[in-house]
Symmetry: D3
Amino acid sequence: MYHHIKQLMYTVRVDTPDPRFGNMLLEQFGGANGELAAAMQYSIQGINCEDPGLKDLLMDIGTEELSHLEIIGTLARMHLKPTKKSREAAEADPLIAIAGGGGVNLYNSQGSAWTADYLKITGEPDVDLRSNIAAEARAKIVYERLINFCDDAGSKDALQFLMTREITHLKAFMTALDVLSKDKLVIGKIPPTPGIVDQFYNDSTGEGDNGAKDMRGPWNQGKDIEFIEAPAKMEAQVTHSQILQEINRAAGR
Amino acid sequence: MYHHIKQLMYTVRVDTPDPRFGNMLLEQFGGANGELAAAMQYSIQGINCEDPGLKDLLMDIGTEELSHLEIIGTLARMHLKPTKKSREAAEADPLIAIAGGGGVNLYNSQGSAWTADYLKITGEPDVDLRSNIAAEARAKIVYERLINFCDDAGSKDALQFLMTREITHLKAFMTALDVLSKDKLVIGKIPPTPGIVDQFYNDSTGEGDNGAKDMRGPWNQGKDIEFIEAPAKMEAQVTHSQILQEINRAAGR
Amino acid sequence: MYHHIKQLMYTVRVDTPDPRFGNMLLEQFGGANGELAAAMQYSIQGINCEDPGLKDLLMDIGTEELSHLEIIGTLARMHLKPTKKSREAAEADPLIAIAGGGGVNLYNSQGSAWTADYLKITGEPDVDLRSNIAAEARAKIVYERLINFCDDAGSKDALQFLMTREITHLKAFMTALDVLSKDKLVIGKIPPTPGIVDQFYNDSTGEGDNGAKDMRGPWNQGKDIEFIEAPAKMEAQVTHSQILQEINRAAGR
Amino acid sequence: MYHHIKQLMYTVRVDTPDPRFGNMLLEQFGGANGELAAAMQYSIQGINCEDPGLKDLLMDIGTEELSHLEIIGTLARMHLKPTKKSREAAEADPLIAIAGGGGVNLYNSQGSAWTADYLKITGEPDVDLRSNIAAEARAKIVYERLINFCDDAGSKDALQFLMTREITHLKAFMTALDVLSKDKLVIGKIPPTPGIVDQFYNDSTGEGDNGAKDMRGPWNQGKDIEFIEAPAKMEAQVTHSQILQEINRAAGR
Amino acid sequence: MYHHIKQLMYTVRVDTPDPRFGNMLLEQFGGANGELAAAMQYSIQGINCEDPGLKDLLMDIGTEELSHLEIIGTLARMHLKPTKKSREAAEADPLIAIAGGGGVNLYNSQGSAWTADYLKITGEPDVDLRSNIAAEARAKIVYERLINFCDDAGSKDALQFLMTREITHLKAFMTALDVLSKDKLVIGKIPPTPGIVDQFYNDSTGEGDNGAKDMRGPWNQGKDIEFIEAPAKMEAQVTHSQILQEINRAAGR
Amino acid sequence: MYHHIKQLMYTVRVDTPDPRFGNMLLEQFGGANGELAAAMQYSIQGINCEDPGLKDLLMDIGTEELSHLEIIGTLARMHLKPTKKSREAAEADPLIAIAGGGGVNLYNSQGSAWTADYLKITGEPDVDLRSNIAAEARAKIVYERLINFCDDAGSKDALQFLMTREITHLKAFMTALDVLSKDKLVIGKIPPTPGIVDQFYNDSTGEGDNGAKDMRGPWNQGKDIEFIEAPAKMEAQVTHSQILQEINRAAGR
């Protein structure tokens, strides 16, 4: 009927509050790839899930992410507290300062409110696991960037711990996906249309220094891949071969 | 460092799934006055709070609301499950059916994604308690409306339980506010400007069958209240008294 | 059929424009607890309300808040005007500078657009009054914070006036709630379940320096309150008493 | 310092409440082209405006739109009221029924909350007038569609009145734009680059039954317009002319 | 079935990356009046359009705007790249720095995510053209402001090019509207109510230094316009004339 | 400098318009996993990408998705067109009917506007590929559900084609990820903390019929995994072993 939560067994230490860094930390509190997003994505997938093993896995990790929300929130709170009294600090995050009195809320680093639009929940177990693998990878890289911009030893410790756990979860979700789906190219029940599924369309051709030049790699060449020029290009190329053909024919060669 | 969650000790029963009712239940899952809003509002206030007693209260109730999120989510899930396979059921909530495969997500009854804009968190303890009292009152009336539209006995039991707990929380927050603030008209530290604070402006005057007629009540009359007609009206009335005055004067009365 | 608005009878004065402060002022223009939110919350409650006295009260205050929107907007406009021409000023609020040409719009201090998700409107008069009491308390504390970060005398005068009026409204809404509902624990018509309504669950137990320690206060102890340890804790405690019991028994004591 | 509002002098009549139509009416209450959007767009432009004539015009029409908000809200309220008690009616708008108790709120016809993202405010008077002309045109067509879906005589009267006023405003804004800007192709102060400004790029070429066939009209032909084929097409065409040229050359013709 | 896109034939040059300017550029990438908004507004109007000429025009310009999205995105990317490694640069746009690793995303200059709420699409060709004329005017003025805040020659060239194209589109849409609708005051099919359509209501009367003084111009005077004082004012004026009348009568004059 | 788009070479056929199905189709037009989300996610990753091969791949698929947006939009448009004239059809999607005149716009199946919050863009190539793999899997399953709810042969053909292409893209992104990252557990540059990375926390323990029972699988057992009971549970277990120990000790056993 209810939960028992052992809160914050991890004691967060901050030596020098840095409001602008506190503001950055909000990315992992109320941001798109943050702890609430992770906690809600996995827990709600868990509520929807009918496979007991996967349900337990989703609930275990969802619950852990919820405890991380408290850690990151406490850390951000410590860095942002000066915004309550210092006008200069307040300019680092006026929303936290004026509306929140220096306390945190579910915003990202530029004051956008957390939204469930961040969540990826489809009710299809293997698809949800792919979304979770991607979510963990994103959370990991975001923690790494925060560590790189951080000068405070206590904060770095906490962030290193939280970053490490994302790799643990990444591995667990990858293992679960391996268990669930032998063929990673099969999604759902309706098979793709043969032939069309093997065509790679070269739809874009960049020019100028910043454009995407046409490149070949294992993703668009190989024995099962039919490489197809996009229509406009085909037209030009067909015309070009026709040129040669016609020229040769006309020239009597 | 992490939480231990005893999930779902309350066993939810649904005899007859009713997708359109399941859709209504989403108001308390991903809606503005729902369980996630309550859980987040209180828990984050708790993270920001420095008074140990109030912090513990906010965390206790925040944690309980989180467990309610799981109950209401499971209940909604059971009512919405037919949307996965039945086209008719799917029309009751196409977003749940098509994007969610019949599983719940943090939407309200018309598919709007949950947003932290629902939360009221100011970092001022007595102000936050007022926001919480209002939040509990809203959650209570929403559960009552759901009960009134519900035909399923198992669902009604769960809703009655959840509704009851909102009254428990209402009382706890009211008691905490009583402890905190003797004078309920004092907010923060800067006092209001004397005189101006006692003026009631009659700014609006309705006409037509649906307009707001000018009314008097203890909120705009009494010994400490100066009732002031809004400018345009004053102007008209002054003019009117001038009429009589001038007429009388002119008439030599 | 239409309104007659005497605009801006309050002459706003700004001696030294301060774009970063102008940006903070937007919290009360287009922010979550600002004047539009207040004006809309009360006016729309008024449209829905069928009690003539309460309808008039809601419309009076809703109308007054609308006039405050104009005052705060004009004030913010004056502080933000330099963003139109100065690159340095523009960095204080690039959205106002680039998209708005230095003019205000319904954003908060970090550029989030005003949304009706800020509003609390339930159509239940006493519940709406609780939401309004909370809203006035929030608006008051936000004005206080703005005053504390403000150096400009003219701006401070206007903010003090606006802040004062929130206390006036707070009082009026509290009085109206007193008139409406004798027993503040009764919401709607369906009574809570006896017994369950008196239980306080100790759901959360903090550890570490920043955790919420278990505390007792009038909100979780007293003659009508049954204090209940959350399941996991109960389990541990039962086990603990069993230890002693068993030890003593085993020891032949 | 404050406003005096004569509310609702227009008496709204509804003979037969129609909840699904009431839900549609919300488009003009809390929708993207509705009365709040109009009221806020013009009033805030008015706050920002420094030309006294235009400022007065913007405030006059902004104020009138605010009064329309009350009319359309009252009308929608009457049509939606049955959602409070009837489960069938409630299914027409569960958000209004469950969260609002049958009362209106600032949502559109599918429950999306009103957002200031609907507003177009640039602080450039002639640009704002163009946005207002477009806004009035949109509001007019939306009212026309509502009238076409309406069976209730009283509702139709109110909608016809509101629709008529949009044409009045359209005309006023068009007149003001004529006064302001002689050359409608001049916006701001930096002139466009000569030559490039006169080129029309034929960027898109549709095929299939639903594609956009290449068409010519006064917008892409005429004495000041240089019509330019998009690069890919040019390439093909150049190649094609080269074909003929080469063929002819090769053939010795 | 698919598109062939010649990307980025315009080579973007940035001599000195300026992260705060890069952040401002996001207004035209993911902002309300930016290139994605333009591209989507016109292309989707084109999908809905049944007039072949107008459909082709909408698709041509929609496609061109999509290519501008790539130019402005590449330009912003170059200016924002230092946010990946430099903490100081990161403070210019923490969302881009932390969540995006220095890469762009569809945000505006204050981190609000792009939303389709920016779009104005009604399915009524002449109304849509008015929305497009306004959109082009807004885009033009925003580019002008960016140019005014820009120090980098390469960036200025690109912005001047993009700004110029908006004037080209403005002209094309104005021409198309001229072709479509002879009488610009006719929208849709239902005519406005005669008489009421010619009334101008003087609804707002400002006082104080910043209020809107009552002004007359061609928009509220002329042979077809009936100027009407708003009710409150009328009342006062009628009363005033009655004063004089009554005074005179009483005085026996 | 600009794009050349061959639009809609795929001719869409609809035999019987079905407005409620058309509304469902909007999930793939303006919904969270739809074609615009895919097109923008890949194209913007492409703009940010500095690896030429990956940049080209992202642009090729991003461009193809853009063409799919046009196909699905045209298909939805055909199914929704009756909403323009029929009141009954309009009730299937009042927003499309009233605001859109029967034309499509970037909404999902319940009228929520498309938002860039749907996008997952981190600027870290291998992380972005994981997000794309997940996005393709979601899009595939959504198309499958639409096919399952569809009765119209022409619509089914188009949906089968679009669904097939998602598998093609899934494969291309998986291949590209294989090329990029040998060890799928390595994200970014900072390694996780040894020891902690191998711990699996059993944080959640369900009870009741719908709870998550503790389960073991390869994700939480194996030679590299240290399985750890969550604190509350550990505490209880430790206490339990202490009981036995103490009992035995006390009993002199």
